[in-house]
């Protein structure tokens, strides 16, 4: 047995190590490129031989008006946050009704949400492009918030329904029996129980908006509303002779590291949210 345990231990260590390397390499590589001085960019080494922060400095040079990065960063954060708030409010209403009330059409709503989750966004890009130009929504925050809302709602509704079904709603009545008003029963008992689920759904919706590229390049044309993924695709070098590789890598690190830290802090919640409703149980 001793021998077998030792071998198992070694095999598991290798398996785990492989997974960790697989996950980390691209991130470490981006950090490495972003820190390489331009002259060493082409040295093909995974680890930079000297470190420079010039790429990061160039991102923020010129302040909000001249920096190619600050305005898209503001757009990304603003659009994702606004969408998340609206999406979570609307999805909470719907999920509460679906999890707690009995009404015809419940299954239809769930099926419809599922259908929208499978819907190919490219199929709406042309009509939206045409409509948004007529409605003056093209290249505005609202022009992106509306499609993000539509495509994030199914995700939010499914996650929230799964969480809301786990809430022991009887507690609300128990609190009322104990003399709490309906409002107190809701805010003191139900809200704290529902908060983790709502927070989880909010993280997933935020990441969904933060990640979008197709709508971001199709429905925007300038820094007025272009988000980070779209801006990265249109990055140019300092001059027409320098490749923007270093700046792209630095910008990528700036938008990636905070999200990764956030994801790792709330990893249990995210795993629960991502798999919510995946299996009955």
């Amino acid at each position: 047995m001793e021998h077998r345990d030792g071998r198992d231990y070694a095999l598991w260590s290798i398996a785990i190590l492989l997974v960790v390397i697989f996950a980390l390499i691209p991130v470490l590589w981006l950090i490495s490129i972003s820190l390489k001085p331009p002259a060493e960019l082409a040295d093909q080494h995974f680890i930079p031989s000297s470190i420079s922060f010039d790429n990061y400095k160039s991102l923020f040079e010129g302040g909000i008006s001249d920096s190619p990065f600050i305005k898209p960063l503001i757009n990304s954060i603003g659009i994702a946050l606004i969408t998340t708030v609206i999406s979570i409010v609307l999805a909470s209403f719907a999920a509460y009704a679906i999890a707690r009330l009995e009404f015809p059409g419940k299954r239809l709503i769930l099926a419809g949400a599922l259908a929208i989750a499978m819907f190919p966004p490219i199929s709406t890009v042309g009509p939206l492009f045409d409509m948004w130009r007529a409605l003056h929504l093209y290249d505005t925050w609202l022009g992106l918030i509306i499609p993000y809302l539509t495509f994030s709602l199914p995700l939010a509704i499914y996650v929230l329904v799964a969480f809301f079904r786990e809430i022991p709603w009887e507690l609300e009545q128990a609190a009322q029996v104990d003399g709490a008003t309906p409002f107190q029963a809701f805010t003191k008992v139900i809200v704290p129980l529902a908060a983790p689920g709502v927070f989880t759904a909010a993280i997933l919706v935020f990441i969904f908006c933060w990640n979008d590229f197709l709508f971001a390049i199709s429905l925007t044309s300038s820094d007025a509303s272009r988000t980070v993924p779209a801006a990265l695709a249109f990055f140019t070098g300092e001059s027409s002779f320098t490749a923007p590789t270093g700046s792209i890598a630095a910008a990528a690190v700036v938008v990636t590291v905070p999200i990764i830290i956030f994801v790792l802090i709330f990893q249990r919640r995210i795993v629960a949210g991502l798999t919510a409703g995946a299996v009955k149980g």
Partner: protein, 312 residues
């Protein structure tokens, strides 16, 4: 899909008329609560897809706005008889099948590691969530820089030719695109599979072990059959997601050297060439393809969507 919460907290002795009016008000409340979300979901799907159908039946080119006219099915004929469309369909299906197949194997392996590991489960879960948190465009750049002959470290690795021009050929470009896609989306697959894995009763494995089943037999005779529903749902969502592949190809090749996907074709027609008629015909055809794939999974393989969830 059962509802755990008491639907009607009224005691049974309540008068029937009162109960039904209560049911009615409950229905009304439910619909009022759902209405905003339903409207918001339909706003950017139902109406635009109908509008796309209308556009696809017309000659609409925003560069020549005065030449709009009814086109009938000629846009569809143009798309379906062009070799570009069929090349792109092949590319999309090829990428979809390869990435999803690799992901299923890798995802299952990672799920088993997370489920069975004697130690280090937390480390594995932490690391698989990293790709999930990264913007697809950023991941595409990371892999592109890694494989680019000028800047990348990949050609510097042993066993790989220093001269290898990954983005100089169609299938070598595909290899990098597949690598980036697999890296980005395997965690989602692994987590969905893990959720199915934890529902399997451990006693089944114990019983099989007592009966002398090998680890491989336990996997193929117990794990796989019991996980079929979870696997099908995970496959359905990932397949549809993979069919829409856009970001990675746009960043890496922009569709050059016959690496275009159908979504890139739609984007080029709609946004780059402003040919809304032709582009909308492509959009509608993509919509039909997605519908057929979903139908194949639900009807053909019996995927139970009740247990499904929208992709993250």
């Amino acid at each position: 899909m059962t509802v755990n919460a008491p639907a009607n907290p009224n005691p049974p002795e309540a008068a029937p008329t009162k109960a039904s009016s209560r049911t009615r008000s409950e229905r009304k409340l439910a619909w009022m609560l759902c209405a905003p979300a339903v409207v918001a979901m339909l706003l950017v799907t139902a109406y635009p897809i109908a509008y796309a159908v209308v556009l696809s039946l017309q000659n609409v080119d925003l560069r020549f706005p005065e030449e709009n006219s009814f086109a009938g099915l000629s846009n569809y004929a143009t798309v379906l008889t062009s070799s570009l469309w069929w090349t792109d369909v092949f590319n999309t299906v090829f990428l979809m099948v390869t990435t999803v197949a690799i992901e299923l194997v890798l995802g299952m392996a990672i799920a088993l590691v997370m489920h069975r590991a004697i130690f280090g489960r937390g480390v594995v879960r932490t690391s698989v969530l990293i790709p999930y948190g990264i913007i697809t465009v950023v991941a595409a750049f990371a892999w592109q820089f890694a494989f680019a002959p000028e800047t990348g470290f990949v050609n510097n690795l042993p066993l790989i030719s220093d001269e290898m021009d990954w983005f100089g050929g169609r299938f070598s470009s595909f290899a990098v695109i597949i690598m980036a896609e697999v890296w980005k989306t395997t965690p989602f697959m692994a987590l969905l599979l893990l959720a199915g894995l934890v529902t399997i009763d451990d006693q089944l494995y114990e019983a099989a072990r007592v009966d002398g089943a090998s680890a491989w037999q336990r996997f193929t005779r117990i794990t796989l059959p019991l996980m079929k529903p979870a696997i099908l749902v995970a496959l359905l969502f990932r397949t549809l997601d993979a069919f829409r592949v856009f970001d990675t190809i746009f960043i890496m090749t922009r569709g050059a050297l016959e690496t275009e996907s159908v979504s890139i074709l739609g984007y080029n027609q709609l946004i780059s060439r402003l040919n809304l008629g032709l582009g909308s015909a492509v959009s509608v055809l993509i919509f039909i393809c997605v519908f057929l794939i979903a139908l194949l999974f639900v009807r053909g393989f019996g995927a139970k969507l009740d247990e499904g969830r929208p992709g993250g």
